[in-house]
Amino acid sequence: MGVPAGFLRDARGRLLPASIPFRFFGAATVFHLLAWAALVPGALATPGFAGGLGLPLAALHLVTLGVLAMTALGASLQLLPVATRQPVASPRAAAALGWVYLAGVAATTLGMALAAPALLAAGAAATVGALAAYAALLARNLRGARGVPVVTAHGWAAWVSLGLALASALALAAAWLGHPVLARPAAVGLHIAFAAYGFMGLLVLGFSHILVPMFALSDAPPRGPSLASAGAAIAALALSALGSLGIAEAWLAPLAPAVGLLALGSHVVLMERARASGMRPRLGRSFVLVRVGWAGLGASLAVALAMALGLGVPRAPALFGALLAGGLLSLLLGMLSRIVPFLAAMHSTPGRRGPPLPSALTAERPLKLHFGCHLGAFALLLAAIALDSAALVAAAGAVGTVGAAAFGAFFAVACHKMRR
């Protein structure tokens, strides 16, 4: 491509240096490996898991904090400035918060695994501090955004959710240290709703309004229905919060997941229509993972609805957690497997023949292995919970670890080729 080098440097100057987002992505690939590996020694406690310190809780937070939030931070710091046309206020602050967050997640999850409340509290403090700094950067970026109301609506809702998720996390950490400030069921309810569905879910759903049309080369979904879908998701979160705080719980506990299902369903319809109308509608394995992610999220909401209605679902808390974390993980890995080569190509130094092609930076064999292992591990984990089988949990952990290593290889190849 004949773009003059100076022009490309100018264009790239508006982006964060590649080292910052790729550090987040690299850390996420390591935590991804650890999350699946933790299931092997934690197999006995996993099928009946219903909260409390130990390896299952550590594995869950290695996924949520270590993979999902870590990737969301890196991707949003990289892509939000492009979407909103607002540069990141302080690249140095973005880099620093990445290191603090990494240390915080490591200490938090180790504290959970070892059932060491003091280590957990120290890690939680660092994690909360880093996420608060990220929230400040996010707010500054969203405040200046113009012309992308769907992304900013999702972004602001995710921002509020992050605040509530952090507050409820601190309440839970304080309770583990013997200083309860909120009834544990209320804190757990608020934390799950606002950390997983609110912060992670809305951030991913919001970015999907740019990423899916970008992948499929299609027009963006229509603004009105997109904002209505976001409104339904926000309403579901508000209903869930009120229910968690004991307000009209009998009505709101089932209503919240029902409205959440409506929001998710409308989002999926909008995304599928956009994909189908694009110039590149066939998105391959990466979009299969995205669809598995949607299915996992929908199934988690259905389990939540069944629990609220008092329907007897065996080992419902573990099943709910696996569907929610596995769904979000599938969705995010599907997106990440497409954007990593693209971002790597964007950051590469053009050679004599121009910049490298994203397809040349994609290592297909590791991605294919990851795809099979990820789906296999997710299915094994669900079967393990359904059958109350520790052996199947260990098998899921082993298969998932192989898949995570393959995804790490895909990421390492993209980084290596980007630097060459």
Binding site: G2, P4, R223
Partner: protein, 87 residues
């Protein structure tokens, strides 16, 4: 499919022009690539893009299609690109 404003397109002797200024992402990317695909494989074909920012997401997609981008002079505040088939 969308309620966003459409890009303006016209033809001049130097190629097919497209003005994507003011469009939110990813509409400029999609509109430009749609025009590039419509322009076809003619070795002499050119697309002139009138943009209000550096389209950083466009370059990897153009490279995949075998096209190149060159910056050309434009109005103040405008990023004008000439897209042609890479030789």
């Amino acid at each position: 499919m969308t309620s966003e404003p459409a890009p303006r397109r016209w033809s001049e002797p130097d190629g097919a022009h497209i003005d994507v200024r003011g469009l939110p992402p990813p509409q400029p990317l999609v509109a430009i690539l749609r025009l590039v695909r419509e322009t076809g494989d003619d070795a002499g074909a050119a697309v002139i893009v009138h943009h209000d920012r550096d389209p950083v997401l466009l370059y990897p997609e153009l490279a995949e299609l075998g096209w190149r981008a060159d910056r050309v002079a434009g109005e103040p505040g405008e990023v004008r690109l000439r897209l042609t088939r890479a030789r």
